[in-house]
Amino acid sequence: MGDYSSFVIGAYAVAITVLGGAVFLWKIRLARAKKMLAKMENFGESSQ
């Protein structure tokens, strides 16, 4: 029975990077889209 700690750490690092990265990216994209929509709505109101 060997010590496979480096494999375990590697596997958890990959899982955290992929899932955490996806959540981080989607949160940024959502916030950016919301900001742009609010800007466009404000622009639409001020130009009327």
Binding site: F7, A11, L19, V23, R29
Partner: protein, 228 residues
Amino acid sequence: MKILEKICSPLGWLSLGLLGYGIWHVLNTPADFQQGNSVAILFVHVSAAKMALFFYLVLVAASIRYLWKKGDTADTIAEASVHVGAAFSVVTLATGSIWGKPMWGTWWAWDARLTSMLMLLIIYVGLIALRGALEDRQRGAKAAAIFALIGAVDLPLIHFSVVWWRTLHQPASLGNGAPKLVGPMLTTLAVMGVAFTVLGTYMLVLKTLEVREQRRLHDKEEEHFHNG
């Protein structure tokens, strides 16, 4: 969709707490007498695999709903579930490969379970590419829904691959005839399974909101463009 905005943040914190609790369980689970501490990889691998398959079922349900009723919400959920399912498929394949190296002596084998799982990831990526390739949203949604239903053939192939063929991959860890998991390992797998289910739900909610806002933004831009 209002309810999704309300539950999104609490779900995120809940999944983070459950994952922390799950990792605490992993750290306190004894090493397997054959696999040693590499068994810790399987708690993530099995949970991620369940989620990768579960989100394809969500995709199938949303695609049927879209083809039947033409609802925009069903299509938004279908598009979101593809991205979430793809993320879990990557984790499943990567962690399986990392576990395989010390246990099987190889990173990869063209075994029925591994190959059918890789096919699932290819289908998810294909669905993302298909939507991106078709400019008209309705056409893209219809094509993706039909492709998703055809791709569902892969689900029984993945599930029964270890039964139908002699594979390097071991049989199912849970269910009838499965090898018995001892107390602490079963508890850890159950906790990680619940944590991944909550995390997956959170990711689906977050991605659904993101897809909806991106679509609204795209529509607004089109409107501005046409109005000059």
